[in-house]
């Protein structure tokens, strides 16, 4: 079976969960003797590397390709379909894929899907949804503009309040356009059940809308795992935050919680922030961050960015992984990583974070509440009983191999056009 993956950035140029997931799947699936895979990554024309629709293969391999493209961000339609069509047509004639699996449609444009359907009428199209762009114009995060309030349901009226320059009819049409195309695919995948439910409640559904958890990349070493997963401190007071230092991931909340604990006289803990990108954040955020960090600089340490290969070492320095996201999230990779290394997760009680935390050896706190987070942290410090109980609950996260196997089973189903019931795979 021939499978072509589409991803909105090549792992060499852009870093992100979706890119990693795509490439990981691309490589793992290749290991299966029945499957041949290729991957096509979009390179935005603004990078001035490729013209719109220009196709280029990646050096050293005949399986990876790049294509220059760009789309507008209201409806995700292509600037110029004919040039994209020519480039795609050449590649598709060569590959003749039976499955085309999109990990993202931004940059390609969502109209790449009907284009692919018309260029390869027999191919099955599958889309993995990593965010809520189809529902929400605000970076696909379902958080209001301005106030950053959590949004429960996207409606033309609600969206026109966040984006007053668009009237309800335009927003209705945007939704209709994207929904119609997504529902014309042969399967939709999401790494969290939360996302599936959210799409459904906002009017986008599919008979084959499946949850498949992201698999951890292959370099996660099972040999090391046992050593690391027993390396807790006796005090059980080391909190780790892994990820970009930005508003949405809630790092500010963590600082405030640490500050609250400090004010209460609790100082027997340490918080390590593993991540960077602070300097690219809006000024307001940087100011507030600096303000609070200043207050708790003895307790909270900025450890900078890290490579994936270092993660094991860093986990050795951590007893609890904190995921204080202020938005819904989908399936934060950091949680899967924490599960692998046997670290209980303290996560927000909303969206995908809650889904992957509750019942999986984690504890939730009230989202966006530093008080609640502080309370949980306080309870956690030195709490051997809690820590042990939680670690026993931690399941084995899906490996890249598991993930690929599940996908391949799905590909077979879809190709044989049978109807299957919905399944959840952890």
């Amino acid at each position: 079976m021939r499978v072509l993956y589409l991803v909105h950035g090549h792992e060499q140029f852009s870093v992100g969960g979706a890119e990693n997931a795509a490439f990981s799947l691309f490589r793992e699936a290749q290991n299966n003797p029945e499957i041949e895979t290729w991957i096509l990554a979009a390179v935005h024309t603004s990078k001035a590397v490729l013209a719109h629709g220009e196709l280029r293969s990646v050096e050293g391999t005949d399986r990876e390709y790049l294509i220059g493209t760009s789309c507008e961000w209201f409806r995700f339609t292509n600037a110029h379909i004919p040039s994209l069509k020519r480039g795609l047509q050449r590649l598709l004639e060569h590959i003749q894929p039976e499955i085309i699996h999109l990990q993202h449609y931004v940059h390609f444009g969502i109209d790449v899907i009907p284009l692919l359907q018309s260029l390869c009428p027999d191919a099955k199209i599958i889309v993995t949804l990593h965010e809520y762009l189809a529902l929400c114009m605000h970076n696909g995060q379902m958080v209001t503009t301005g106030q950053l309030k959590l949004c429960e349901k996207a409606t033309p009226l609600a969206c026109s309040m966040c984006f007053p320059e668009h009237n309800t009819s335009s927003l209705f049409l945007r939704h209709h356009y994207i929904k119609t195309i997504l529902e014309s695919c042969d399967a939709l995948i999401s790494p969290s059940q939360f996302l599936i439910d959210r799409y459904r409640s906002c009017g986008i559904d599919h008979p084959k809308f499946l949850m498949i958890e992201n698999g951890l990349p292959g370099y996660f070493d099972f040999n090391q795992q046992n050593d690391i997963s027993s390396g807790y401190s006796d005090e059980l007071n080391r909190f780790g935050y892994f990820g970009q230092l930005n508003t949405y991931k809630g790092v500010l909340l963590l600082l405030k919680a640490a500050y609250l604990l400090q004010e209460k006289g609790i100082r027997n803990f340490v918080v390590n922030l593993y991540g960077a990108n602070l300097e690219n954040q809006p000024d307001e955020f940087q100011k507030e961050f600096a303000l609070f960090h200043e207050k708790v600089r003895d307790l909270v340490h900025i450890r900078g960015s890290y490579r994936q290969s270092e993660l094991g070492t860093l986990m050795l320095e951590t007893d609890w992984v904190v995921v204080p996201s202020i938005w819904w999230e989908n399936s934060p990779v950091v949680i899967q990583e924490a599960l692998f290394y046997g670290r209980p997760v303290i996560g927000s009680n909303i969206g995908g974070t809650a889904e992957k935390t509750e019942g999986q050896g984690g504890v939730t706190f009230t989202a966006r509440s530093e008080n609640s987070l502080a309370g949980v942290m306080q309870k956690a410090i030195g709490n051997t009983a809690l820590h042990q109980a939680l670690t026993l609950q931690i399941p084995m996260p899906a490996t890249a191999a598991d993930c690929a196997a599940t996908h391949i089973a799905l590909y077979h189903e879809v190709v044989s056009t049978g109807a299957i019931a919905q399944e959840v795979l952890a």
Partner: protein, 742 residues
């Protein structure tokens, strides 16, 4: 009501029972189950193994922990499938039934009584064109004459003519009224622009009632017809005869004018016409100053627009005539509009006039087919004016050619209807819509660009016609939907022919570019018809329908999108299940927020609206804007309504052709759908709504940027509302009186 035995296993038997007899919900569901049963396929869920952790310190997750997620059905229509036949639920007695006959007789009797009481105004307001002749047949000559004469005075010539004709039909019984009826029949024909018939009738007056008073007026009218055609000698002869007529003494004004016109024509023939000025200053002698700013004539000669100014504080101006070469027309000052001209303050002062006097003059005349004289290159016209004190003058101006377009017609409406919405000239309105119609029908005869994108199906079941105006992007949203729907339905889907009609030449390039894009992206084949000029709603739809091949036709607005996969299919199957029984089938249309935009139309009168709008029948959408769930009875049957909107209307293509498509008499667009439904009702066919066929209608978005101002818009609406009312007011009253009692 006896319970129907549920032992009936035979599906056909069940269908027949349910179609013809009372319907019961559980039986419908039973029928639906058996229809669906063949279509469903069972497949069990497949469990998948999950890898568990080996170390004993960890608890392993059980493999059986597969949570099934429950999706909502893609087509969220829990209930009857499109293939299950549904009965028609009648609401009104059809035309031709004995009940309808009774209602008609009642109506005629009521109107007759009003006529006998001489309540002519009340009658005219309720006299639809379809009852004029039946009423005339029932009225005695005097009554018919009385009403006819009133109608004539109101410029309702299309009503006056048949009434007068019925008086004539009574022959000698009409007595004294005969010559007058004959005269007014002739004059009515003249008013309607039916010149040939007018002449015939007027000559009869002369022939049969030579020395009667009526014949004087007939002769005058004929003289003017002669002058219109440039037959000077005939007119002169007529004048001679008129001078001898016993009535001459009481009509000196008429004779005087004819005399002046003839002598002026002689003078113009003898003297160099181009010496005449376009302005005249008689301030000192007669207190009148006048000038022509421009005279615009459409090249076909049908619309004349005279613009100028007249300072005449003493109201000296009595007659105004237009001269083109040897033809003369008498202009109707009553149809003139007067506008403020502040630049003429000085002139006004000189003539002793009030500064507030509206000196600007604007006059529009419409000549219909038999009357129109096309424009010649370089042609000029003279304006001949007669003042009260007996003096006269001639002005001259070269004609400016103009293309006949929507704005010109709107200018006529501007004159016919004055603020806020008062009809001052019914004849001008009549001529405006006749002009619009003639023009439209002419344009529809012209060949048009027709492009195919993809291969249309050889035997389509349904042709869909979508007009595009102001915005073309809607085409993509629809084609995107059709593409996705096709993929889901597979080869068993109904075969559709999609016809887009671009009724906006400004958007041609954009439309073609979008069509190319759509052809590349979406597999649905479609056709594009490119109108070289804007034809309006009726024209665009009729043109699209001309290319339709399927037995069924769907008129669809560009801003309408199906809400469910089976929305279209339901309507299609419903039509196919009742061949020849449905006039038109509408749908349930929702706004983007799910509230009702349309679930059938009703005719209402809103007395508190301005002017004419307060007395005519209007189309109302009951429950518009309200969120109402689907009722059981609404999904089990096709419900009859008073009318349904053409935003989404399905009908048999042959029937559409039989009634001539959408009426060409509504200017720009509006009321064509209720007009269509009433025409179908007249044939005995009901208008129905399929409430389970649900669409979104982003109303008004398809019009895009409208150029006309609010005031003009209102006048166009009023004009069309009046036209609709004049045709159908009686039919609507009868409709309301024909409700079937349950």
């Amino acid at each position: 009501m006896p319970a129907i035995s549920v032992q009936i296993a035979d599906r056909q038997e069940l269908q027949r029972l349910l179609l013809n007899g009372p319907h019961q919900i559980d039986l419908w569901l039973q029928l639906d189950q058996s229809t669906r049963g063949e279509q469903e396929q069972e497949s069990p869920p497949k469990p998948l193994a999950v890898v568990t952790r080996q170390p004993a310190t960890r608890r392993s997750k059980s493999a059986a922990q597969a949570r099934a997620t429950s999706p909502s059905a893609p087509s969220s229509q829990d209930g009857i499938s499109p293939d299950t036949p549904r009965p028609i639920q009648q609401r009104f007695h059809p035309a031709g039934s004995s009940e309808a006959q009774a209602v008609l007789q009642e109506q005629l009797a009521e109107l007759q009584a009003l006529v006998q009481e001489r309540q002519y105004e009340a009658v005219l307001e309720r006299l639809g064109l379809d009852v004029v002749e039946p009423l005339a047949a029932k009225l005695p000559a005097a009554a018919a004459y009385g009403l006819g004469h009133w109608a004539y005075e109101q410029e309702r010539f299309e009503v006056a003519a048949p009434l007068m004709a019925s008086v004539l039909a009574e022959g000698d019984q009409a007595g004294e009224l005969l010559p007058w009826a004959q005269l007014f029949l002739g004059l009515s024909c003249r008013g309607l622009g039916e010149i040939g018939r007018a002449r015939e009738q007027l000559i009869v007056v002369l022939a049969q009632h030579a020395s009667h008073d009526a014949s004087f007026h007939a002769q005058v009218a004929l003289a003017w017809l002669d002058l219109n055609t440039g037959a000077q000698q005939e007119a002169a002869n007529a004048l001679e005869q008129l001078r001898q007529h016993p009535q001459a003494g009481s009509n000196l004004g008429e004779l005087d004018l004819l005399g002046r016109v003839l002598s002026t024509l002689e003078w113009l023939a003898a003297n160099p016409r181009d010496q005449l000025s376009h302005a005249v200053d008689r301030a000192s002698s007669d207190g009148v100053v006048a000038a022509i700013d421009q005279v615009r004539l459409s090249r076909c000669g049908r619309v004349l627009q005279l613009q100028g100014w007249l300072v005449d504080p003493g109201q000296q101006l009595r007659e105004l005539c237009l001269v083109r070469d040897e033809r003369v027309w008498r202009l109707n000052l009553g149809q003139a509009r007067y506008l403020g001209r502040p630049d003429l303050a000085e002139v006004l002062a000189r003539c002793g006039g009030d500064a507030n006097l509206h000196a600007g003059l604007s006059l529009t005349q419409i000549a219909l087919a038999e009357e129109a004289v096309p424009m010649k290159a370089g042609e000029a016209a003279e304006l001949f004016a007669v003042l009260a004190n007996g003096t006269q003058f001639c002005l001259r101006r070269t004609l400016q050619g103009a293309e006949l377009d929507t704005d010109q017609v709107k200018a006529v409406l501007d004159a016919a209807i004055q603020e806020p919405c008062r009809l001052v000239s019914a004849n001008l309105l009549h001529r405006a819509r006749e002009l619009w119609s003639e023009d439209l029908l002419g344009k529809l005869q012209c060949p048009v660009e027709h492009k195919l994108f993809g291969t249309p199906p050889a035997q389509p079941e349904l042709s869909v016609v979508v007009p595009l105006y102001g915005r073309v992007d809607f085409m993509e949203y629809q084609l995107n939907w059709f593409n996705a729907w096709q993929r889901r339905k597979g080869p068993n889907r109904p075969q559709l022919q999609l016809i887009y009609v671009l009724d906006d030449p400004r958007l041609k390039q954009e439309c073609l570019a979008l069509a190319k894009r759509c052809h590349t992206l979406y597999a649905a084949p479609f056709e594009l018809v490119l109108n070289p000029e804007n034809l309006g709603f009726a024209g665009a739809n009729n043109r699209g329908a001309a290319f339709a091949q399927a037995p069924l036709l769907l008129l669809l607005n560009s801003d309408v999108l199906p809400a469910h996969d089976d929305s279209l299919e339901r309507m299609l199957r419903a039509m196919q299940q009742h061949p020849g029984k449905i006039g038109a089938l509408g749908a349930r249309l929702l706004f983007d927020n799910g509230a009702i935009q349309h679930k059938g139309m009703a005719f209402v009168q809103e007395a508190d609206l301005d002017g004419e709008l307060g007395r005519v029948w209007l189309n109302e959408h009951p429950l518009k804007g309200v969120k109402v769930p689907l009722q059981d009875e609404e999904s089990l049957a096709l419900l009859e309504v008073e009318a349904a909107t053409a935003a989404c209307l399905m009908l048999e293509r042959e029937r559409f052709a039989q009634i001539g498509g959408l009426s060409s008499h509504y200017i720009v667009g509006d009321f064509e759908d209720s007009d269509l439904c009433l025409k179908l009702r007249r044939l005995g066919l009901p208008a129905l709504v399929d409430h389970s066929a649900i669409f979104y209608h982003l109303e008004r978005q398809s019009v895009g940027l409208a150029a006309s101002s609010e005031g003009m818009k209102m006048k166009v609406v009023a004009a069309n509302a009046i036209t609709h009312h004049q045709r159908w007011c009686s039919a609507i009253e009868r409709l309301h009186a024909s409700e079937v009692q349950r």
